[in-house]
């Protein structure tokens, strides 16, 4: 595969909070069109890794490159680079004082300075696509959690990022809403979006991923295609991790 395809490249990443080493040397390459699912026990540093990829956290060692450009915490260049990295959070983060449509149109209008007509058309089309066409004029507080999360996905998509980072986006949702949100993400995965997804939904991981990565103790423990990872993982650690998701009577 040639290098043109590489969207994000992480080399020797180390991250600690004070004395606490959270990420202890991670290398990761994500190519265009790939959906990488990141799993691992609670507290192993999945969110921290995603936040480092987006420059939300300073790192101690290594580098994060987006299309060869360094992503560095606190640098001016971040504002430009972040438009190419979409991020969706567990607790949605829709701005409460704006309608759904205004939330979605904010970045394209204010940051990218695109024409309003064009942006509105695209925003409405995306909202329709995730089943929120009739909610464009509603405020976030008038929406269910699942609807808010779908709107948040659209808000990231409309910026046309090169890669999307999704951090446990269904963890705060009632079970019946998880499905509607994951279907949207699955649709994106099947249509060639580049994504890194942190999730605890194993069935979804298996369906959406091109590659599954298991993190533990600050490093990547196993990295395999889903067929391999879920049926016949290479490591004992992965077997043990997967066994925590099954029940036997």
């Amino acid at each position: 595969m040639d290098n043109e395809d590489v969207v994000i490249e992480v080399k020797g990443l180390k991250k600690s909070f004070g004395e606490n080493v959270i990420i202890n040397g991670i290398d990761l390459t994500v190519r265009k069109g790939e959906t990488v699912v990141l799993i691992g026990p609670s507290g192993c540093g999945k969110s921290t890794l995603l936040r480092c990829l987006n420059g939300l956290e300073p790192i101690q060692e290594g580098s994060v490159l987006l299309h060869g450009e360094p992503v560095e915490y606190g640098k001016r260049s971040l504002y430009k680079i972040r438009q190419k990295i979409g991020m969706v959070f567990q607790d949605y983060g829709l701005f409460p004082h704006m309608t759904v449509l205004d939330n979605v149109m904010l970045a394209p209008l204010k940051v990218q300075k695109r024409a309003k007509d064009e942006v509105k058309k695209e925003a409405m089309a995306l909202l329709e696509r995730v089943g929120l066409g009739d909610k464009a004029k509603s405020y976030p507080s008038q929406l269910s959690g699942g609807q808010q999360q779908r709107a948040a996905i659209v808000r990231s998509l409309v910026v046309r990022p090169d890669i999307m980072l999704l951090d446990e986006i269904t963890a705060a949702l009632d079970p019946e809403m998880v499905h509607e949100v994951l279907n949207v993400v699955l649709d994106l995965a099947k249509n060639g979006s580049t994504m890194i997804i942190v999730t605890h939904e194993m069935a979804f991981a298996e369906a959406a991923a091109n590659r599954v990565i298991l993190m533990d103790g600050g490093v990547i423990v196993e990295e395999n295609p889903p067929e391999k990872f879920f049926k016949d993982p290479d490591t004992e650690r992965a077997k043990r991790f997967l066994s925590t998701f099954s029940y036997s009577r």
Binding site: M87, F89, G93, F95, P96, K110, V111, S141, A152, S156
Partner: protein, 217 residues
């Protein structure tokens, strides 16, 4: 009650009420500006300015207005800085109010959730765009009730202006009592004058808060 006294002297009250409202209004507007600047310095922890703003806030909120006015009116001339009574009134009120406003506005700014700041950052908004589009609108609705309470508080505080020889409402009432001993009439007119000034402001603020509350922010 001596009605002829009232009809004779109520124009004096109108005159001094205008003065109270003008000086009070100017002082309050200034205090909001000072408050916004201090709150922003403290919110972003701008080196040096943060410390100055924090110290100023404590100083202004923990000393009585009358002491601040005395300092401006009697203290500063000793080192060659002379302000008129009017200037002392405006500056003194702004000095006092700036501290209160800064506290209220800062707590509004701090109420904006971290997720919203990070969502704004990851959408590529820069600091200024985040401030104007995300932080200020949310902070404004959170801070409004406290800012309104400060405005009313400051309007009432104007009653010590007479200490620096400003011919405000209080001054007029004291003057009339001193000259004619018509305590009942003078005080009744004083209370009514303050009510006429403050009550409408209070009602407008209550309506505003109710509206914000309904908007659910």
């Amino acid at each position: 009650m001596d009605w002829s006294f009232i009809t004779e002297y109520y124009p004096l009250y109108i005159e001094s009420a205008v003065l109270t409202v003008t000086i009070g209004g100017l002082g309050i507007i200034l205090s909001v500006i000072v408050g916004i600047l201090c709150a922003i310095a403290r919110y972003y922890r701008i080196p040096l300015l943060n410390g100055i703003a924090a110290a100023y806030t404590e100083l202004s909120r923990n000393t009585p207005l009358i002491v601040q006015l005395f300092f401006l009116y009697f203290g500063l001339p000793k080192i060659g800085i002379v302000f008129s009574s009017e200037t002392c009134g405006v500056v003194g009120l702004a000095f006092l109010g700036g501290g209160y406003m800064s506290e209220s506005i800062l707590s509004g700014l701090l109420s904006v959730r971290k997720t919203h700041l990070e969502a704004a950052a990851s959408l590529g908004l820069n600091g200024f765009q985040t401030m104007t589009n995300v932080i200020l609108p949310q902070a404004a609705s959170v801070a409004t009730p406290a800012v309104c309470a400060n405005v009313i508080f400051l309007l009432k505080e104007t009653s010590v202006f007479s200490a620096v020889s400003l011919a405000d409402l209080m001054y007029t009432a004291k003057d009339l009592i001193g000259m004619y001993y018509s305590t009942t009439e003078a005080l009744t007119m004083l209370v009514i004058a303050y009510l006429i000034i403050i009550l409408p402001v209070s009602i407008v603020f209550t309506l505003l808060e109710r509206r914000l509350h309904r908007a659910g922010i």
